[in-house]
């Protein structure tokens, strides 16, 4: 009986969580340096499948080649970072953990910097960022597993060390880079941006993204149990080391894929899970699907601001930090953020 009531109370909220990102998805096509009207956008979007003609080829190319890739990338990157952050907070039993806790962003940052230094081809940058992100986490995990003691704590400490190591490598590449050409490219990449996203970038990361999202959604209820502590989870029949590895692999695939499209975007993976917990509660069965909506919505909103607020684009990573950090402090003050 109370269960039915619960579902009733959740219907409006879950609808809102789904409808808002879809609404923003369409709004985002309209705004930009070249404003479009809703009919223009609708005709342009439909022209791919229906025999209708857009007013001008320019409108078609703005919608399909510039705005659509960027909008999809913002939604996907925001969702990926948020769902990974929420999952990591659960398995490390620590609400202050973000997706880069095991060094994935520093590794990816180094991979991108190295590729920018050596070749500069966008495809190589993305591939190298993705691979070095995976390498960094693999290092953290193998070194962390070889120690005795509390696995979660050791893992986090190893992650900090590996992240520091790769940050040093990033500094070396910056130091070696040509200050007029390569260095600005590296610095700009590290600040995070979606301005050069093409649909190809999104296609490349499609497979790791799909794997990450679907596996996490399938096992999400078990993250509840894992967050109660290792011994309790074991006594409830959970194979904790296997489950933890699966979750770490999924989060790493998602984060590395996200970072390889967008560069380093901080705070989303830390703040969005908390905001979502305030909305739907801590139960991972509801939390993970909800973070996909809130994370995608948030990053799309921030990206719309980034490309419309001023004449020149503001790097996304800067904006998420400017919005995220004060908001996080506000949450801490408010005190009912969904963890104690």
């Amino acid at each position: 009986m109370s269960l039915d009531k619960k579902i009733w109370q959740n219907i409006p909220l879950s609808t809102v969580l789904v409808v808002l990102p879809i609404f923003l998805f369409f709004i985002s096509f309209l705004i930009g340096r070249y404003p479009l009207s809703p009919p223009e956008v609708i005709i342009a979007l439909l022209s791919k499948i229906l025999p209708v003609k857009t007013a001008s080829p320019a409108v078609y190319s703005i919608v399909w080649e510039i705005r659509l890739p960027r909008i999809i990338a913002a939604l996907v990157v925001g969702s990926a970072l948020s769902i990974s952050g929420a999952s990591f907070q659960g398995i490390f039993q620590n609400p202050l953990v973000s997706p880069d806790i095991l060094g994935v962003t520093s590794g990816a940052g180094f991979g991108a910097a190295l590729a920018l230094l050596l070749s500069g081809s966008p495809f190589m940058v993305q591939l190298s960022a993705f691979c070095f992100g995976l390498i960094a986490v693999t290092l953290t995990y193998t070194i962390g597993s070889s120690f005795r003691g509390s696995k979660t704590l050791v893992m986090v400490l190893c992650g900090i060390a590996i992240a520091a190591l790769f940050s040093a490598f990033i500094s070396i590449t910056k130091y070696l880079a040509d200050p007029y050409d390569k260095l600005p490219a590296i610095v700009y990449w590290l600040m995070g941006s979606l301005s050069n996203t093409s649909l190809d970038d999104v296609y490349i990361v499609l497979i790791p993204m799909i794997i990450g999202f679907s596996v996490l959604l399938l096992i999400r209820w078990r993250i509840n149990i894992l967050s109660m502590g290792d011994e309790e989870a074991q006594s409830l029949g959970i194979d904790i080391s296997r489950l933890r590895v699966v979750i770490i692999i999924c989060c790493t695939l998602l984060t590395a894929a996200a970072v390889s499209i967008s560069g380093i975007i901080g705070w989303v993976g830390l703040v969005i899970p908390h905001v979502t917990r305030m909305l739907v509660g801590p139960d991972y069965k509801k939390l993970l699907p909800a973070t996909i909506c809130t994370g995608g919505f948030f990053l799309l909103l921030v990206d719309d601001v980034a490309r419309n607020l001023t004449q020149i684009e503001i790097p996304l990573g800067i904006l998420t930090a400017i919005i995220g950090a004060p908001f996080f402090l506000y949450l801490l003050r408010k005190g009912n953020e969904g963890w104690s």
Binding site: P95, W221, R222, S227, G229, E232, S235, I238, P282, S340
Partner: protein, 258 residues
């Protein structure tokens, strides 16, 4: 009648250090309550964790209905053995219902979430312990006694037939201690085989069928409460003077004299 849980020559040591306990032997029947007594640091908690295979014995065996517990996989083992840890606080404020629902994990496939049926089982367990009104309260805001009840409800949802409890009464007030012992007694009547560690010899008189006393890594005595909880054994175990008195109604009580 055959034994339900049997421990044979069990020894445990953390890697590279001395034995926490050694040569432990005992067996209990279905529906019996075993209370493990002993001073701090004698390995009671470690023994409980070994019984649940959270830790693995260095030598010796533990048998569940005659089968070695090492031959079970985690999931099958958790359908047989339930565990109530010492009080703790999770990081996230799950509702009481969510916590109780976790007991369904051993009965679900690895990719599924609890269904309507599982919710019903969890709610039935809450009703049985008279805490149905707390279902939507955050677990983290409960008192120690209420948390203990939630754990019992979770064990009922988990439906094992052995129940391990690590010092179930240690953080509770006078009244809650007795209420907890009553629940343990009732669960044993309902068919649970119970193994618990405790700091209170009196509690063994109240609720236990068998008592084991551990001291310096070893079991110094094992048997019924009347046989084992003696002046000599308690003085040996705790290094204090003890008096054991008979209360009206045949119950006994231990008084430490210092």
């Amino acid at each position: 009648m055959k034994s339900h849980v049997e421990v044979v020559d069990a020894s445990f040591a953390y890697n590279g250090s001395g034995n926490i306990f050694e040569n432990i032997n005992f067996s209990i029947k279905k529906g019996e309550v075993l209370c493990v007594l002993g001073p701090n640091g004698t390995g009671k908690t470690t023994l409980i964790k070994c019984l649940n295979r959270i830790l693995k014995l260095n030598s010796g065996d533990i048998f569940l209905k005659g089968k070695d517990i090492c031959s079970f996989n985690r999931k099958d083992l958790s359908r047989q053995i339930g565990y109530i840890p010492q009080g703790h606080s999770p990081v996230f404020p799950f509702t009481v219902l969510d916590v109780v629902l976790m007991g369904r994990a051993p009965h679900l496939t690895s990719l599924s979430s609890p269904s309507e049926k599982d919710y019903k089982i969890a709610q039935k367990a809450l009703k049985k312990l008279n805490i149905a009104h707390m279902a939507n309260k955050p677990y983290t805001e409960l008192s120690g006694g209420e948390k203990q009840l939630v754990f019992f409800a979770r064990v009922l949802t988990q439906k094992p037939d052995v129940l391990l409890l690590d010092e179930p009464t240690s953080h509770l007030d006078f009244g809650n201690q007795m209420r907890t012992l009553n629940i343990i007694y009732k669960m044993a009547e309902g068919g649970f085989t119970v193994i618990m560690s405790s700091h209170f010899p009196d509690h063994a008189f109240i609720s236990a069928d068998k008592v084991a006393i551990m001291k310096d890594c070893k079991l110094i005595d094992y048997g019924t409460p009347e046989e084992v909880i003696t002046k000599e054994n308690l003085e040996k175990a705790y290094n204090i003077k003890v008096k054991i008195m008979d209360l009206e109604g045949g119950r006994k009580i231990c008084i430490p004299l210092g």
